[in-house]
């Protein structure tokens, strides 16, 4: 059978609290309420859930959703074998059986007919009907469903159904405050705090351009990349261009502006 050990988060993930989300999440988990974490890409949503799984000492099963995903990919399917067929649980089913936290990352990417399979798990029933198998699975008492959702870029067509949204409690994530973000960068990459502060200033400039040609600002994740490059000996300007500018835009004016910001902040012009 499934080994819940493999889903255990063994080491404490590095996570810096932005507010009181750790306590709030713990409370939601205590009541086994489904949770939705919203926020721009790379702001720490996944890291937060990983951290909570560690803290609550629950196994964590993460599913990255995409538009080709079907309900069977979540629930499970029969496989053909030499001697006949064998049922294989999907990740959602596995989580419900072993009492894991199931994290459906970027749920809006999945088609709407796929997302409805989570409905019975998210209300008082806490059940998962495995129609093909003819089984009604009752979720383990420790099971919890978490979804992530980036309100910034999804199109109208991909919006979550109201009936789906209304089954979750929600956390709003955003990029951490400058000071905190610098601390995160310093710890994640090992660069010093002053340098981290400069990187965060570059990100601040980019984030102010959101909506003016940028769909998303620079994520914390990209900042960690830049910091790591610098840590490994890349010049600050090059690291910024490589990790902070080129990935996010091809717009010449925006590139120019960010290049200038880098020069102005690192005084390398």
């Amino acid at each position: 059978m499934t080994d819940s050990e493999q889903y255990q988060v063994r080491q404490e993930p590095f996570y810096r609290q932005q507010g009181n989300e750790v306590a709030l999440y713990a409370a939601a988990y205590a009541a086994r309420l489904p949770v939705m974490v919203k926020g721009p890409t790379g702001c720490g949503k996944s890291r937060f859930i990983e951290y909570m799984a560690w803290k609550l000492d629950r196994p964590l099963i993460t599913v990255a959703c995409n538009e080709d995903m079907t309900a069977s990919d979540l629930v499970g399917r029969y496989l053909l074998e030499a001697g006949g067929t064998r049922w294989l649980d999907g990740p959602l089913t596995t989580a419900a059986r072993i009492g894991a936290i199931c994290y459906l990352d970027e749920i809006v990417e999945a088609r709407q007919d796929t997302t409805v399979v989570i409905h019975p798990l998210t209300d008082h029933r806490r059940t998962l009907p495995l129609d093909k198998k003819g089984e009604l699975l009752r979720a383990h008492a420790d099971f919890q469903l978490v979804i992530s959702y980036n309100p910034g870029y999804q199109s109208l067509m991909k919006d979550l159904k109201e009936s789906t949204k209304q089954r979750f409690t929600a956390f709003d994530f955003d990029y951490p405050e400058a000071e905190l973000e610098a601390t995160i960068l310093a710890s994640e990459s090992g660069i010093d705090h002053a340098l981290a502060t400069q990187l965060v200033a570059v990100a601040a400039a980019a984030r102010r351009l959101k909506g003016h040609g940028l769909d998303e600002g620079v994520s914390t994740r990209l900042l960690v990349y830049a910091a790591t490059l610098i840590r490994n000996g890349v010049a600050a300007g090059d690291a910024c261009r490589m990790a902070l500018v080129r990935p996010i835009t091809d717009d010449r004016d925006i590139r120019d502006t960010l290049e200038h910001a880098i020069d102005a902040i690192f005084a390398c012009g």
Binding site: P151, A205, R208, H212, D253, H260, A261
Partner: protein
């Protein structure tokens, strides 16, 4: 003959004889010209000079070509070398043999100025080739009769060549000429307009070809800079500058950037300078202004002398630059490159008022952060400045204190001298600091009230099928598509006399506005400075030329200016909230009025004002009764004149229903977006928060309105809200960013509305 040799009478006579021409006008100037020629030309060059003069004296075109050549050639040779004479002569011969002999004089008259711009190798040749090609392409092609008619545009072109080259490279000039030839070879009149820089396309192509970094081409980039690095937002408005390099002889202080309610004003073009690119120079100017916005607080000016104010500004500017460099260390290099380096002691206190120079030296020291071999006072004040900023941002007030102490300490009698030492004192990335001062002054009235133009009928819009607009749902952070139905129609009409009565009541105010409008009006015309011939004397330049003259420096002869009428190129739409709250009363007893009445007065006055300025101006009103019924009522079409038809509609304005503003904003934007004007302004007059009967969540329509303003912004529409709601601060900033005013004394609306408009578009 050697150069040092004085010009003997016989020698002069011999040379004069070589011209072999009896034109009496020549006698008066010949000796001077020859002396100058001998001074700058080699003996062989002088020979060639005389030969060419002889040729010009004998072509039968009167004295002008000859005089022009005699006077100009030494200067031309000084710029491009005397070795260029043969090609110039060849050009002259070509002109002479064509029907374009009339162009010879203007060709020679502008040649010295042209050569100054084309001193670098080979460029003059390109200019001569271009001139001949233009001649070929525009002569005699009319009706196919070969080379019988002179080129209509050639003399005009030659007259304007120096002006053109002041702003264009030779390549740019070639493009400009080619465009004119391509499009107007067969239209003599339009061809002349083009080559005299009179027609719109001529000026447009000219702008396009200008060298340096043009603001119009980089507006977005600079807008991004302002947002990204400073979190600021502003309309960037260019002002015309005479090309910097064009006037080495004219030390006129150029206009400086400035910041006011109408936006940030920047030079329309900046060349690279001191190793700083044009775009970085713009950024430096924007950084400085953004720094003021962030860190400066206004000071009362009335009790300070101009010198004290200058000193306060210097300290304050230095504080701002220091704080900018703290935030963006990379700006230090740019500021240091652009800041002039005045030399201590360069200003002679016997002759000049040196305060300005002293402050510039101080400013430089504050920027460099080193005081080297500075005198005691300077060193002390640099130290005090640094002390003040050592652990914090200090304040404008603190700088004022420091500045006044500085002025008192370093005061000299000669600071009062009328002549101010100007060299190396202008820090051109810094703005003029008008935002820093508050004056408590009075204004006076003037007689005169405007008469109205006769009305003319407009295309009436009748009830159309509804348009659907999305609405932003902030809960789900998404749009609800086609959520709102908007019906547009022409506003019903009432009695125009009502509006006239209201306007009469404000006759005094109208007079005052008229005065403001008159100030505003000339600015719809662009001043062309540095003209040799112009419609009026440019006093500043004239004074400078006079000074130059007295100092023995060649004065700049371009002391006139003229005006070019240049429509403001602004489209305005006023969107009125006609919801029920408009019927509210205020005041008491006899003075009781409704907000509606006041809005009618205010809008009428505004319409009248804008009509004076001639900007295209539309008025529309809106109200809503659930998302299924938003009404958008046309009160005035954008090109409809201010007259009885419009007044009738204004007179019938009524209050009713609710304020679903988002859809109205989007619909107004749909009209403005169709306008071809360069700047689009949407003024919103409202008296309450967005609301509707079918919406219970107070934030929903506020968030939607904010979203709509963002959409407009992306379409290049500048939205500005005038709110009559005393509590507007709670939400209006959230919707309109910084672009709003709250009118708390509602009875002043008729005055404030036109004033605000003028301030916004000044």
């Amino acid at each position: 003959m050697t150069r040092s040799e004085a010009l003997s009478a016989e020698h002069l006579a011999a040379c004069r004889a070589r011209l072999d021409c009896r034109l009496p006008q020549v006698d008066g100037v010949f000796a001077d010209c020859l002396r100058e020629a001998i001074a700058v030309l080699t003996p062989a060059g002088v020979d060639a000079y005389l030969d060419c003069a002889r040729f010009l004296g004998r072509i039968g075109r009167g004295a002008e070509p000859l005089l022009a050549f005699l006077e100009e050639w030494p200067a031309v040779a000084g710029s491009v070398g005397e070795g260029t004479l043969p090609v110039v002569v060849a050009t002259l011969q070509r002109l002479h043999r064509s029907p374009n002999g009339k162009a010879i004089a203007p060709f020679l008259q502008s040649l010295a100025a042209v050569s100054r711009r084309l001193a670098a190798g080979g460029q003059l040749q390109r200019y001569l080739d271009l001139t001949l090609r233009l001649m070929e392409q525009t002569s005699g092609s009319i009706h196919g009769i070969h080379k019988t008619f002179a080129s209509p545009c050639l003399p005009d072109f030659l007259v304007h060549a120096p002006t053109l080259l002041a702003s264009l490279s030779i390549a740019g000039l070639t493009n400009w000429v080619d465009y004119g030839v391509r499009n107007y070879a067969a239209h003599p009149e339009r061809q002349r307009d083009y080559f005299r820089l009179q027609s719109a396309d001529s000026r447009a192509v000219f702008q396009r070809e200008r060298h340096g970094t043009l603001l119009v081409d980089h507006e977005r980039l600079l807008d991004l800079y302002l947002r990204g690095l400073w979190g600021e937002q502003a309309l960037l408005v260019p002002y015309a500058v005479a090309s910097e390099a064009a006037n080495p002889a004219s030390p006129m202080p150029p206009a400086q950037p400035y910041d006011d309610a109408g936006g940030i004003r920047l030079p329309d073009v900046l060349d690279d300078a001191c190793g700083v690119s044009g775009i970085d120079r713009y950024r430096a100017a924007l950084a400085h202004i953004a720094g003021h916005r962030r860190w400066s607080t206004p000071l009362v000016a009335d009790n300070l002398s101009p010198m004290q104010r200058l000193a306060v500004e210097t300290f304050e500017d230095s504080r701002i630059d220091t704080l900018i460099v703290r935030r963006y260390p990379g700006m230090r290099r740019i500021f240091r490159a652009l800041h002039p380096r005045p030399v201590a002691g360069a200003c002679d206190p016997q002759r000049f008022s040196c305060l300005r120079h002293r402050l510039a030296v101080l400013s430089r020291a504050l920027l460099d952060g080193e005081d080297g071999d500075a005198d005691g006072d300077l060193r002390e004040f640099v130290a005090r400045f640094r002390q003040a900023l050592a652990d914090g941002e200090a304040s404008s007030q603190a700088m004022a204190g420091l500045a006044l102490a500085y002025v008192a300490r370093t005061r000299r009698q000669s600071d009062q001298l009328p002549e101010v030492y100007f060299s190396d004192t202008l820090v051109d990335y810094r703005d003029d600091n008008r935002h820093l001062w508050r004056f408590h002054e009075l204004s006076d009235d003037e007689e005169m009230f405007a008469e109205h133009r006769p009305a003319s009928a407009s295309a009436e819009i009748d009830c159309l099928p509804p348009r659907h607009y999305p609405e932003w749902d902030h809960h789900s952070q998404s749009y609800r598509p086609d959520w709102v139905s908007l019906y547009e129609s022409l506003h019903p009409s009432g009695d125009a006399a009502l509006i006239d009565r209201l306007l009469d009541r404000h006759a005094t105010l109208a007079r005052r506005l008229k005065r403001l409008l008159d100030i505003l009006k000339p600015q719809e015309r662009v001043r062309l400075r540095f003209q040799e011939d112009g419609s009026e004397l440019d006093v500043d330049v004239a004074v400078r030329s006079l000074i130059d003259c007295r100092c023995g420096v060649t004065p700049d002869p371009r002391i006139n200016m003229s005006h070019r009428s240049n429509g403001r190129n602004l489209a305005v739409l006023l969107l009125l909230d006609l919801s029920a709250s408009l019927a509210d009363k205020f005041g008491s007893g006899d003075g009781e009025q409704t907000v509606l009445e006041l809005s009618q007065e205010a809008v009428s006055l505004l319409a009248w004002s804008i009509d004076q300025l001639g900007d295209p101006f539309a008025i529309a009103g809106f109200h809503s009764d659930t998302r299924h019924d938003v009404r958008y009522l046309h009160l005035k079409g954008s090109s409809e004149p201010w007259g009885d038809a419009v007044k009738r509609r204004l007179a019938a304005m009524q209050a009713g229903y609710s304020t679903r503003i988002g859809a109205a904003l989007r619909h107004a934007a749909h009209y403005l977006a169709a306008s071809r004007a360069e700047k689009k302004l949407l003024l919103v007059l409202t008296d309450g928060r967005p609301s509707d009967v079918d919406v219970s969540d107070g934030r929903l329509l506020i968030e939607d309105a904010r979203k709509a303003v963002g959409e407009l912004d992306r379409q290049g529409i500048f939205s500005y809200c005038i709110s009559l709601d005393a509590k507007a601060d709670e939400y209006v900033g959230h919707i309109f960013g910084h672009h709003y005013s709250v009118i708390d004394r509602i009875e002043r609306l008729p005055q404030r509305l036109p004033e605000l408009f003028m301030a916004l578009t000044r």
